[in-house]
Amino acid sequence: MELTAGKVAVVTGAASGIGLALAERFARAGLDVVLADVEQPTLQAASEKIAGLGVKTLAVPTDVSDEAAVNALASAAIDRFGAVHVVCNNAGVASLADPWFGPLSAWKWVLGVNLWGVIHGIRAFLPVLATQGEGHIVNTASVAGLVPGIGPSYDATKHAVVAISEDLYQAMNVAMLPVGVSVLCPGWVRTSIAQADRNWSPSLGEVPHGRRLPR
């Protein structure tokens, strides 16, 4: 699919890191951009930065682990722009808590954002892309989706995102739906994911402290 002016991209985790870079890349190609993130002040700043490139933007505070929030994101995007062409399910976190002796809440947080966030994103936007006759979904996994070693909760979610993306790719081809699928498996990237605890969900209780082992 060509990335051209007049099209619309939705990016989760768009306030920083790879998400912000994606938003900027799409804007430079002329796409209008819907930026979603749970980190609200940073999200607003990111939206203003992208708007400064001469495209329309919409900032939607979104906790991607929440199905209703992601559905609301899709509705907001359609209400504002009338179409969505690129969806980047990019939001991701990593926990420093010990996976085996630490609190279960750390697992729930990582699975909620990294795995359920992708599932919610696909399910919320796929009907839009399929019915309008053009679209592309990009799911952000990691090299940890191919080789375990970062940490069990992170590795598990990223392996799942790779598998889900392959399944989605197959399904789109079998059903002959005009939706492209890509999975991003980056290695080390200069982001603030090591400080992801800043976006810990209060609904899960206190931020777990401790350290995790790498393997």
Binding site: F101, S182, V183, P186, G187, T191, G210, L213, R215
Partner: protein
């Protein structure tokens, strides 16, 4: 312990803008896989060769960007020894002691994930 190593790897990692360029290219070309580092894909190949051969998971695998796995293992074991095996220290020190006792077979024997 490993966090400074990870942070350094991140700090020395690829620029997000370069990753975004690869994603944009993949969308335009309708390409499924977007990789940024061939060293990791080689690791994946090596892993699957072991899987296909029915071999146990390999330990002490060097990860690109991090110190040698043997160095990391030594650092972690030194840390665990200093904490008498407590992998996770909650706020209440007594609770930590209980936890160490309750998981003694693990903390006195194996390093989780290692051999």
């Amino acid at each position: 312990m490993t966090e400074p190593h990870v942070q350094r790897a991140i700090d020395e990692g690829m620029a997000p803008a370069a990753v975004a360029d690869l994603v944009a290219d993949a969308i335009t070309a309708n390409r499924f896989w977007v990789f940024t580092d061939p060293h990791f894909t080689q690791m994946a190949l090596d892993r699957w060769q072991r899987i296909a051969g029915g071999h146990n998971p390999q330990t002490d695998v060097d990860m690109p960007g991090l110190p040698p796995a043997k160095q990391l293992r030594a650092e972690i074991q030194q840390l665990l020894a200093g904490q008498r095996g407590a992998l996770w220290l909650p706020g209440d020190p007594d609770q930590a002691v209980d936890r160490r006792i309750g998981s003694r077979s693990t903390v006195s024997g194996d390093v989780p994930g290692g051999t």
